[in-house]
Symmetry: D3
Subunit: 133 residues, 6 copies
């Protein structure tokens, strides 16, 4: 049994229903993830988080699949099982192939390794990187 109750559409207040409706319309699916159903205990956070997600994860200078890969990279670094499972599913929906996933994992592993080599060896930032953007 989940500790924080999942709020179903039928039991939701109008503010939560409005967010659920927007999730469904935006994602073109009736399914509402557990994440949103739990956040619905706090309608203000549900709304703010969904609206940020919608703004951030949509198409822009980066395409939505690349954004899902970045999400997985962060979630695997933080070791968040729910986030890895749900965004892996989203990425597959958006076209991630097995080969792409394998390369994503290889980069995430390598970056986590070299981040620690840098800190352990106390490597100083190269002058040329200090004003490179």
């Amino acid at each position: 049994m989940p500790i924080h109750q999942q709020i179903e559409y039928a039991d939701a207040n109008p503010e939560v229903r409005a967010t659920y409706d927007d999730i469904r319309a935006t994602r073109k699916t009736d399914y509402i993830n557990n994440f949103w159903k739990v956040l619905a205990n706090d309608p203000a956070t549900l709304k703010r988080t969904w609206e940020s997600t919608k703004q951030i994860m949509g198409p822009g200078a980066l395409d939505p699949l690349t954004k899902e890969l970045l999400y997985i990279a962060v979630s695997a670094t933080n070791q968040c099982p729910y986030c890895i499972a749900s965004h892996t599913a989203s990425a597959v929906n958006k076209g991630m192939t097995d080969a792409m996933f394998h390369e994503l994992m290889a980069v995430v592993g390598m970056a986590n390794e070299t981040n620690r080599l840098v800190s352990g060896y106390q490597v100083e930032v190269d002058e040329r990187f200090k004003d490179a953007k």
Copy 2:
């Protein structure tokens, strides 16, 4: 003064020189980052890390720029200043625009936020994500 001496090409042993030569040839630049010059204190790790980097960061199912974005996503999550500075420079070299960087940061920030909402609210993995890949 850096704590771990940076090994310059002129002072390097043949094994380290061979790695430096390969870094220069692969990257089409004479410049060797401080990271490699410090790792050169341990030639075996220098060689292994460089060869893994070369294998992983090259073109494949994901293009090299996307891989740099993933590297930055991990490094910002881990808050590694050297890694952020050096891979931001690499990403710019490979075509990252300001707009792309801004969207990258927005996704990294959002994912770090929602990772903690998920854990704090103890959200359970949806059944449908348990065998979705």
Copy 3:
């Protein structure tokens, strides 16, 4: 089956029993959490950890409920399921309302987001914060 045996009171040596007795007296409950029963495999660490906890989590300049909220903030940031579950229970015992929990989570999420924006954008510390305490 837990990997590290949980030491029950009946099976505990006198040093462990003394710590269990103090936990029970301090918390006004007979219940000993799994955490302490597992730590009891190392009586010195059990005793040191309990005594630090008792000293730190009691009333002082901050009240015990605020301290529980801080504990949850750290545990959600580190994504420690046990710690989140046990300290959420403790916080509820000490008076945490649903509204307080929601605001706690919102702050934790936001801080985790902005921590990464700061590092990714390589924001320099304002002069005025360098000697402000």
Copy 4:
């Protein structure tokens, strides 16, 4: 020299100026932190982040000082120097005493320690915490 240019009010576009105006009015100070001046390179993220901060950090079920303490707890756990420096200054402005800071640090240290004892010892969640909220 900061890598990402800090956008001063005089150089800001109307959208950024509107956010700066709101920061100044809300905080009752002319000072704009480096964080906001760097985020201003991406006006959409500046606006979204500021509006979330304003919504989350204001008074509610938790008072603003408690929220600053929670922010520091997260930032110290993540080891974000900028965030620790800026929010320590904010907390002092809102009334944090030395004694409160010391207790905050003691809790943060202890929670980070016990989080790892729990994971290293593979402690299982107590039944009674599984449906306690």
Copy 5:
């Protein structure tokens, strides 16, 4: 059901089989951990990761048991349940006693605590540590 299929020897391609054979020969056991069977979905990463592991974890200036303890220290800090479980088993195989495990955990807990005290209190590096190696 695991999301990423575990590749059994009978179903593996020749490249994966060669790695499995080397794991078995090196470890003097027929057993292949789930980790390797899942990585086998990406034969290049399986081979690279195994060869790095074999090179790094073998005897050298540090003995194999000390290396397992270091592995557990990292894994408990990152709170990776699989890694803690599998490397605790490996460490026991290599001679880790209960007393050693308890001391390992005490150091890991303490280091995680003091790391945050240092960052929260913004302690500056002593001059004498700046060129000490």
Copy 6:
């Protein structure tokens, strides 16, 4: 200028002086690290932290050098510059050679990499590790 004042022996109260005396006697040096001089702002935490350190880091089932290596492993994983610098100095004092440091770093890097491969690939714990200790 450090934000939190460093308390020198001459300015310390008797409780702090007693701890400083014990640090000096135990470590056979007059030098007190910045860490302790900053913690001295909170004499109770200074005393508790020092006493825990003394208890934990002394000889036992693991020798003091191994404990320093574990400390560095945690600190590099958490990317704490002060902690890496100070404990690298301590480890050198206790006999850490360059070769040992290189192997330590290799293990830390590898463990951080594989921790994320495990989480990203959602590897399930092998049955045989579930009751192995």
